[in-house]
Symmetry: C2
Subunit: 320 residues, 2 copies
């Protein structure tokens, strides 16, 4: 009986280029938007003893594909005290012919980080105004780095404005992103950042809204990717009522545990106002109608993205 | 960066005795009954292209434990045509301190099979009448073998009566179980089996009820373990109204996708009639009140069982 193959992080990173990941995630968002991915609601396990953390399980099948995928992603906020990343995980590829596991992707959570960055960059592109001077980044963690980098490269930008609560973490962020070749300046408050940026990405686990309706300039596009459970919120609910376009990676997830959920539960916006990011990327819907529009892309991360990147790794390892 | 350890099926089988499995599953059922296991509803992925199958994801955390577990179990009914078992899967053990994966149990679905057999035997014991002449088994698949074997060994029985629709599969079953040292006779219909047996285990994927109220003798205990989605049914709904005791491994699961669900949705029984199998095993509730009672144990398989066996394997491999 064969032992299950494990594909290591080094092998995974060696077989995927950034272009591969961007095109796989773009196709995944489009497929999902068109209803071609069978992905039940994600499983969420909350832990609080001995440590506080969450484990998210996303899984599903691109209709007709030879394989299906189960993705496990953990987030344990106190891992920093142990010198570890808060995020970890793995992906499993299984046969859609027999149900049997075909390989384990021991990606340490990297594929989740990187597909999230790719989805954020695509969501930024989908609603970005014609002229973006600088990308505004709220938050200073791993996704604050990845989202800035992937979005700047996709849109050909060089300048970042960052806001974070913790001065030391802001300083580290500035050092790191400067070392990557970006021009980075800091904002003393979110309001200040919103005055200076018309493309803003929020990447925090904030329990209350940071980006308020009254502070957002006309013509701004906001990508909200930090909120992934109903106890988190980055955008003020009233902002959704104001937005000309609301894009979502998945409507049910965004209503259940994204920023949009706060606005829907508060009856400030009806969920049928939201359009599919995938259909915007497919050119079937418009992410921005007018230069002065405020537009929002609310992202919760979808199984289709995990399926796409995990399947791509497996296809490449299988033939090599 | 360490590579994730994989524990093979041979290693898993070598480190667990039947007594280990029985006591781990018993403790799991008790813990679950007492509310000491954090296990959200299982994820279920239905596939139909290119093949018809299901993948069930069960996961959770025994409160306070160092690890948590995610179990993947697939069932693809047409695997027989490929010479494969319908069932396959794997289990993952993750750290409850950091969220990181600690090992993969490449058990090919064996742990799920065996914990299901152990739970069935314990459920049989929990409501069995004082005198059992023969165990009645409905179905001729893998669980029909395992449930008979584990139940007979736990209760010190030697005789099996089997009913199956397919004569060739019935003949194979009789051969296999005879070779294991059991006295096996066949029943020509379910009604006949119910006349001859007062302990009956149903192990089929039947889409409609096989065990009907009017055919069940007083004093019979029935363990229903085949039904695991709302489209399957082994016990007639009216039988639940007739039963003196209804035990469940998990109330929400049994109402959602067990046999009990048909009776509850048909308003033949209220779900508060059901008691916890775990609390019966703990001695806190009674599985049988009188010799003439008809009693039922409805099993859907719970994450607590997976957590218990997977954690036990990991503990043993970790110290060895």
């Amino acid at each position: 009986m064969n032992t299950l193959p494990i594909i290591t992080l080094d092998e995974i990173q060696a077989c995927l280029s950034e272009d591969d990941i961007l095109s796989a995630v773009k196709e995944a968002l489009i497929s999902h938007g068109r209803g071609d991915v069978n992905s039940p609601p994600p499983g969420i396990l909350q832990l609080d003893n001995p440590a506080v953390g969450e484990c998210h399980i996303k899984y599903g099948h691109q209709k007709g594909a030879d394989t299906f995928v189960v993705k496990i992603a953990s987030g344990f906020r106190d891992n920093g005290k142990l010198g570890l990343s808060p995020n970890s995980g793995m992906m499993l590829v299984l046969s859609a012919q027999t149900g049997a596991p075909v390989c384990v992707l021991d990606d340490k959570g990297w594929l989740t980080d990187i597909r999230t960055a790719a989805a954020g960059a695509l969501a930024a592109q989908a609603g970005a105004p014609d002229k973006v001077s600088a990308v505004g980044i709220i938050g200073t963690g791993e996704q604050a780095r990845l989202q800035a980098d992937w979005t700047c490269r996709l849109l050909g930008l060089k300048s970042i404005v960052v806001y974070g609560r913790n001065p030391e973490q802001v300083a580290n962020y500035v050092d790191d992103m400067t070392a990557q070749g970006y021009g980075v300046s800091t904002a003393s408050e979110v309001k200040d950042l919103l005055k200076r940026c018309n493309l803003v990405i929020t990447t925090t686990p904030s329990p209350k809204a940071l980006v308020l309706n009254e502070d957002v300039q006309p013509g701004t596009h906001i990508v909200a990717m930090g909120t992934d459970n109903p106890g988190k919120q980055e955008l003020g609910a009233a902002l959704f009522a104001q937005a000309a376009v609301i894009m979502v990676d998945d409507l049910a997830q965004c209503v259940h545990h994204g920023d949009l959920g706060h606005a829907v539960r508060g009856c400030l916006v009806s969920e049928d106002r939201a359009i599919s990011l995938g259909l915007v990327l497919a050119g079937e819907q418009q992410g921005r109608l007018n230069a002065d529009d405020i537009t929002i892309a609310d992202l919760t991360g979808i199984a289709a993205e995990d399926i796409a990147v995990a399947s791509l790794v497996w296809e490449r390892k299988e033939v090599s």
